[in-house]
């Protein structure tokens, strides 16, 4: 669709600009300000230049070591949950019933985990996984597996990952389902006439049609898993040791726990920058994918 050039449109955007600038730009400036200074309490600040940034990116210092370790853990976590949730989400979307009341029922149950406050998600899994009172922990331990997410690193990781799969696969599934719904029946009839196999239908019709929603899904899941805080914090508290301490948990520890404002601010900026870059790459890919599509292709 052609858009007309109209600078007055800025007036329509102004409220959004003001609201978001108030809650984004002002705090960000505070962060930049802190990141260049050191504080010894009592609101006394000293100029520290890029000192914090140097320390942050140098793995031999305490700060740098902690940051890079949590960053590595976080990237690994994001990769694992993307590798599980995206294929699983597609499979679930393909398994949706076709019509009738069961569609609504499935949709409601699928969406349920998405609307549970994040710390309650943590609480649910904390209880569910406990060997003494939780169903999962109890059953696993009675099957002879020595499962305990409080003391065993691998168990803690498995719990956090399964929890995330439980929490967010529905989002991928619902997105894919929306993409599948937009495919006209004529496509399937044509495929049937051509005698296409089930796999061919998936590869030639369904997957290309899900392209855009899948990109949105991957984008959202990457971002949200990269800033995950509440759920693992409630379940494992970042432990055992530091084994499930992700970047956000580390950041909150430094900022609100130790009140090391300079370090926390420097970490925030680098963290934000990483997310911004990834976001920009995804966004560019998405916009390009959108514009390559023929303009008039069925669904609105």
């Amino acid at each position: 669709m052609d858009k007309t050039i109209n600078q007055k449109a800025w007036f329509l955007v102004l409220p959004v600009f003001l609201v978001v600038a108030f809650s984004a730009v002002l705090p960000l400036m505070t962060v930049v300000n802190y990141s260049m200074q050191d504080t010894f309490g009592n609101n006394q600040f000293f100029w520290n230049g890029v000192g914090w940034f140097k320390e942050l990116l140098d793995p031999s210092t305490d700060l740098g070591g902690r940051f890079l370790a949590s960053l590595g853990r976080n990237l690994f976590f994001s990769a694992v949950i993307l590798a599980i949730e995206v294929p699983l989400g597609i499979i679930v979307a393909l398994s949706m019933p076709r019509e009738g009341w069961s569609v609504a029922a499935c949709l409601v149950i699928l969406a349920l985990p998405l609307l549970i406050p994040w710390n309650v998600v943590g609480t649910i899994w904390q209880i569910f996984g406990r060997p003494d009172i939780g169903l999962l922990g109890y059953v696993l331990n009675h099957l002879g597996l020595n499962y305990n997410y409080v003391s065993n690193e691998v168990d803690a990781w498995v719990t956090v990952i399964v929890m995330d799969v439980w929490h967010w696969t529905s989002l991928v599934a619902l997105l894919c389902y929306a993409g599948l719904k937009s495919i006209p029946d004529a496509y399937y009839q044509a495929a049937q006439i051509d005698g296409a196999s089930r796999w061919a239908v998936f590869k030639a019709i369904q997957l290309p049609k899900m392209n855009r929603v899948l990109l949105i899904a991957v984008l959202l899941r990457f971002m949200d898993s990269f800033m995950i805080y509440t759920e693992p914090f409630v379940v494992t508290g970042g432990g055992p040791g530091n084994s499930t301490t992700f970047v956000s948990i580390e950041l909150v520890k430094i900022a609100l726990g130790q009140f090391d404002l300079g370090k926390a601010a420097a970490l925030s900026l680098v963290y934000n920058l990483i997310i911004l870059i990834v976001c920009w790459v995804f966004y560019t890919v998405m916009v390009n994918a959108g514009s390559e599509r023929p303009a008039k292709e069925g669904a609105a």
């Binding site: 978001v20 149950i109 009172i133 800033m227 925030s268 963290y271 669904a299």
Partner: protein, 268 residues
């Protein structure tokens, strides 16, 4: 729609996987603490309502629900109100810096809450909004406004441009066109956007907890505090958890027919 072999089984397994932990929470909320700790039972053998009763009679508990709902509703209203005109502008016009502005908005949706916790604390303390629902509502705008703009833009783009032109030819002023014609046309889109704002504001805890202390404390924060203070009152914790699931479940039920479309952010 073509489906895959064994789809009923896959769906059943997945839904069981989703419901089992929730069932366990509900199950525990009806048990006495003695039963929880001493035996492993698949359903409450001595069902009790004591935990729910305590939450509904103790003000420090139920006020948390009211506080949470207060800032969630405030945030939803603010987000939709400012996002509507912007969505229209992004959908219909080209203007200086539009693409950059759109990306900047989206990038805020992706900013980690942990980064903003401390500066928000300073900012809202400085302007005297700390510990009010307004502080949380405004803070949540940082991720909800961009999302609302994004969703609504998709829905506005689905409205043919001829409708605008006809309305203006008929002598509608812009505000009148907006309220009388455009808003009813994208009502389902507004519903979807409101649902998402509600959802993300309702589930967020880090900012809500940082920006409140006593007066506006959200239920989620009250849960963490009381549990650590009273040792482990599992039954009470489970009951409080169950009650936080209910508003979400109700909202889903109302928008169930739009969920799928909304999750594709109006642009499938």
């Amino acid at each position: 729609m073509h489906s895959i072999p064994g789809r009923r089984l896959i769906m059943a397994l997945f839904l069981t996987f989703l419901l089992l932990p929730i069932y366990w929470l509900v199950n525990m909320s009806f048990k006495t603490n003695a039963e929880i700790v001493s035996t492993m039972t698949l359903w409450p053998h001595t069902p009790t309502l004591q935990h729910y009763k305590r939450i509904f009679t103790d003000e420090s508990w139920y006020s948390g629900y009211i506080n949470s709902l207060e800032y969630v509703v405030l945030n939803t209203i603010i987000s939709i109100a400012v996002a509507l005109p912007a969505a229209y502008a992004f959908s219909r016009y080209r203007f200086l810096g539009d693409k950059h502005l759109f990306f900047w908005l989206l990038s805020n949706r992706m900013a980690p809450a942990a980064v903003y916790a401390l500066p928000f604390f300073n900012l809202y303390s400085a302007i005297g909004l700390f510990d009010t629902p307004w502080a949380v509502a405004l803070a949540h705008c940082i991720f909800n406004v961009p999302l609302a703009v994004w969703i609504l833009e998709g829905f506005v783009s689905g409205v043919p441009r001829e409708i605008d032109e006809t309305a203006f030819l008929d002598g509608y002023s812009f505000p009148r066109f907006f309220i009388k014609i455009l808003v009813p046309l994208i009502a389902s889109g507004i519903g979807v956007a409101a649902f998402f704002c509600f959802m993300f504001s309702w589930v967020e805890l880090l900012l809500a907890r940082t920006l409140t202390s006593v007066q506006a404390k959200p239920i989620a924060a009250i849960m963490t505090r009381t549990v650590s203070a009273a040792g482990m009152d599992w039954g009470l914790l489970a009951a409080a958890g169950v009650l936080t699931i209910i508003p979400g479940a109700l909202v889903i039920w109302f928008v169930r027919n739009y969920i799928a479309r909304g999750f594709a952010l109006g642009r499938v």
